[in-house]
């Protein structure tokens, strides 16, 4: 309590600080409660192979992943590279394609059924096809991530670009700022809240697809290690790796949320004041 107040006094401009500290404390206490419950129940169950305790899983996570530089280089790095390259390509392709589609109402209406169809294909089923087309290397894995995550970005970007306030574009025209400036300084910033919504959805899907692409015909990566652990009956390693994947997904989300919070500062303020 006194800590929160001192913090608020030191940073008077961040008026939400005491509330934020409070909500972080609440979230942490729920997490701690769950961990304690996990520890107690698994201790009672006393089945270390199928239901390891939290301390056992955390220790193993530390041992085989976090404090193991070899695992970082050989597994984590390839996985993260595939994920970020795939998501990055999807971001560039998705925003470009979505902008092109969004700029014309006709394009939006004629392309929409095709996009809805492509989006409806469950990406994991494409694994078989992509292996046939691209082999079992990194390009197959990246292609699968790109195809699986690009649609939310395309749809949200097209929606955002298509719903730019007409008077804002007209203002740009009235001052003859030219198409490039109109695109970069009016259309894309105006569409940014929706583009970020698409990026958030696609990032979660990218983590899923990264793992799935590494479950079959892979030679490295976090998903590969998961299958190896399962095949060799190392159940503690399976648990530790699942927790690792959770941490990866959560960290990526937090990072993107931080970037979004920075880029869209104006949007929070503008929507809060109803303008």
């Amino acid at each position: 309590m006194s800590f929160a107040n001192a913090d608020a006094a030191l940073r008077p401009r961040l008026s939400g600080v005491p509330g934020r500290v409070g909500s972080v404390a609440l979230r942490l206490s729920v997490l701690v409660a769950l961990i304690v419950a996990w520890q107690v129940m698994t201790s009672i169950a006393d089945d270390a192979v199928r239901w390891p305790t939290f301390t056992a899983v955390a220790g193993r996570l530390w041992e085989i992943w976090i404090a193991n530089p070899d695992a970082w280089v050989e597994s984590l790095l390839p996985s993260m590279a595939r994920l970020l390259v795939g998501w990055g390509i999807a971001m560039v392709v998705g925003i470009s394609l979505g902008t092109l589609i969004g700029l014309s109402r006709g394009a939006r209406e004629s392309v929409d059924p095709i996009i809805q169809f492509l989006r409806a294909i469950p990406p994991p089923t494409l694994l078989v096809l992509f292996i046939v087309l691209l082999g079992i290397g990194d390009s197959m894995k990246v292609a699968m991530i790109v195809f699986g995550v690009v649609w939310p970005i395309v749809i949200n970007t097209a929606d955002g670009v298509g719903s730019v306030e007409p008077l804002q574009r007209e203002t740009g025209r009235a001052f003859r700022i030219g198409f490039v400036d109109e695109l970069v300084r009016i259309i894309l910033p105006s569409a940014a809240p929706k583009i970020f919504a698409g990026l958030r959805v696609s990032l979660s899907i990218a983590v899923i697809l990264m793992v799935i692409s590494e479950l079959y015909a892979a030679t490295d990566g976090v998903g590969f290690e998961l299958v190896q652990a399962q095949r060799n009956f190392r159940s503690l390693d399976v648990w530790a790796t699942i927790v690792l994947l959770g941490i990866i997904g959560y960290t990526l989300n937090l990072t993107l949320a931080a970037v979004e919070g920075h880029v869209l500062r104006w949007h929070r303020g503008a929507t809060r004041t109803g303008g």
Binding site: E165, F175, R176, P189, H267, A270, G275
Partner: protein, 284 residues
Amino acid sequence: MAPGRDENRRLTPPFLEVRNLRFVYGAARAAALAIDDVSFSVGPGEFVSIVGPSGSGKTTLLRCVSGLMKPSAGEIRLHGDVVADVPAELAIVFQDYGRSLFPWLSVHDNVDMPLRRLRLGREERESRIASALAEVALPEAARKYPWQLSGGMQQRVAIARAIAYRPSILLMDEPFASVDAQTRADLQDTTLEIWRAHGSTVLFVTHDIDEAVYLSDRVVVLSRPPARVESEIAIDLPRPRDQIETRAALRFVELRADVARLIRRPMPSDTRTPAATDEPAAGA
């Protein structure tokens, strides 16, 4: 361009000329005639207002003049040249400041946006932004965002953006319609000061008769839709004008009544005589 075509035209073309402008919304059976036939001209440095009943196509007219909309027939000439796209020397202040300012840009960057195109030096740009914000009495607001300001202040930003651009003609589309009365009076006086300081031409659309008479050298009155020019009234009130003195002057009250009578005229006039105003008309 072709002197002598019209016997009333001088050899030098008027600064701004609207000739036989016609505008039809939609097409075929759904077509609606918004502007029938509107002609008027504006001299350099003149302050001209366009008033008319609501729905009389004032905003459509202004958009045609700005080059944002293409007239169905007739033409707009600036310095004698036909306006096809938005002319480089023109700036617009829209009614809806909330939607014409960019919420992702600071006040400074909003004013800067049109200047980027002019390829000015950095210092020149900064000094234009600073002096424009000073002219609209917002020197402290440069780092703020538009949504942190009141409505009246936001419209001041929109005016600053227009004047920093140094247009030779400034179009204003009901710019003060959505602010309270006191703010409106302040903004009117700011507009007059800017107009006097810059010597630019202003074409001002409003539905507020008092506002039109208070601000203008001349008021163009549009008829009920489809719009024609009902009349043009010269406003021979002395300048500088004053919110209290000018509005209390007998001449102000007379002019205001003249304009009001023209606007209230019950049927679309085909007699083009502004003097005959009180004839009872058969049902429209």
